[in-house]
Subunit: 125 residues, 4 copies
Amino acid sequence: MSKPAGCKRWSVAEGHLAKRAGDAEPDGANDVLWLLNASAHEAHVEIMVYFEHRVPAGPYRLTLLPERSRRVRWQDLEGPEPLPIGTDFASVIESDVPIVVQYTRVSPGGTGAMTTIAHWERCGM
Amino acid sequence: MSKPAGCKRWSVAEGHLAKRAGDAEPDGANDVLWLLNASAHEAHVEIMVYFEHRVPAGPYRLTLLPERSRRVRWQDLEGPEPLPIGTDFASVIESDVPIVVQYTRVSPGGTGAMTTIAHWERCGM
Amino acid sequence: MSKPAGCKRWSVAEGHLAKRAGDAEPDGANDVLWLLNASAHEAHVEIMVYFEHRVPAGPYRLTLLPERSRRVRWQDLEGPEPLPIGTDFASVIESDVPIVVQYTRVSPGGTGAMTTIAHWERCGM
Amino acid sequence: MSKPAGCKRWSVAEGHLAKRAGDAEPDGANDVLWLLNASAHEAHVEIMVYFEHRVPAGPYRLTLLPERSRRVRWQDLEGPEPLPIGTDFASVIESDVPIVVQYTRVSPGGTGAMTTIAHWERCGM
């Protein structure tokens, strides 16, 4: 079988966790990471989160089943500490098998929707 | 003639098929893949679709005429089975000649519009 | 001086020219290509436009002054024929010096704003 | 430790500084650059800004602390001259260590939100 789609390191420079975990912001904003593991192997994913005024948090660990995709909200991340809320941050997503990462924010009653493919590197390995 | 624009494998980590095939979501959301075949040859495209809770669907096959573009909605895909509706998914788009893929969601009465170039690889071949 | 920023070929798989040249769509949508020539040389740019149901149009030619950026609307393009209106299309943008291309659609009274960096290739030359 | 995430040169072809520094546009639009320095070293960043009708401005200099992210508004940039207001521009962001750059415009009362990863190059160095 040919090499699975994707790369082993992805970065997103924007992120925000709503003020109450599990809830949306006052304007309804909700950040999501879309993750795809198109490979035939489990992907072990580690997410480091970077802030402006404090040391990084993480790694937050996720397992992606083979040939599955997953929608991950920041409040779903379980790790060494809860993610600070009401704060901006960036993230680096590393995986031991190639994956694909897309960042989306949707604000149903607010400022609209936006999405971007994340920055990718460590491809073709 | 020089090599045509684009690459042979593209990935989009987000996708959603509206609850009724051919219709939009309650909020008017509608996903679209924009495909460009700028080459002088027919492009034979295969789309695999990946879910969180079930095995992948596909391949869904499309032919792109030479030097033509095409707007493809998820509900337009014909393949081994209808795409599950009301469900999130990701997709990998492979072509035998270089193409270009862009993902767009528009919600006229809803959460706005968003677009991103897809993740590309297998370029320069 | 070091190599200027950017690449020599860019692709955008989505595009739409409003029904009346110079005007916006009923929903106010307006497509824009943002072009940056950060080099010390004039950039001679050729844009080919690809449709679903007819042969490509172009090349549409633009000159970008050295160290200048430019906002280009589809209706600003002058070439061998006017761009068909009310129709979807894709585009390939080629330049003889490295440039940067970003696609944006804004709908003030409509479905919101969206932007994406275009697909790039022919970099580092 | 492995190479930090990111690249040393990034480009954004769209930008706009609101009419009054520190304020938003009449439609509430506000441009932001999201910067991530995931490395263990300070990042010395230089931003050049390119216009349609005048010579470039800059370099505007920023320092990013190690393992920190930062949200930068155009009006926050301090350099050899204030950025012209009410004007479109593009930017090239260079850093002496790898960083990640994302461009976002949010218009709370206006045309919605949009984001894109910037064009990257000079990676893997």
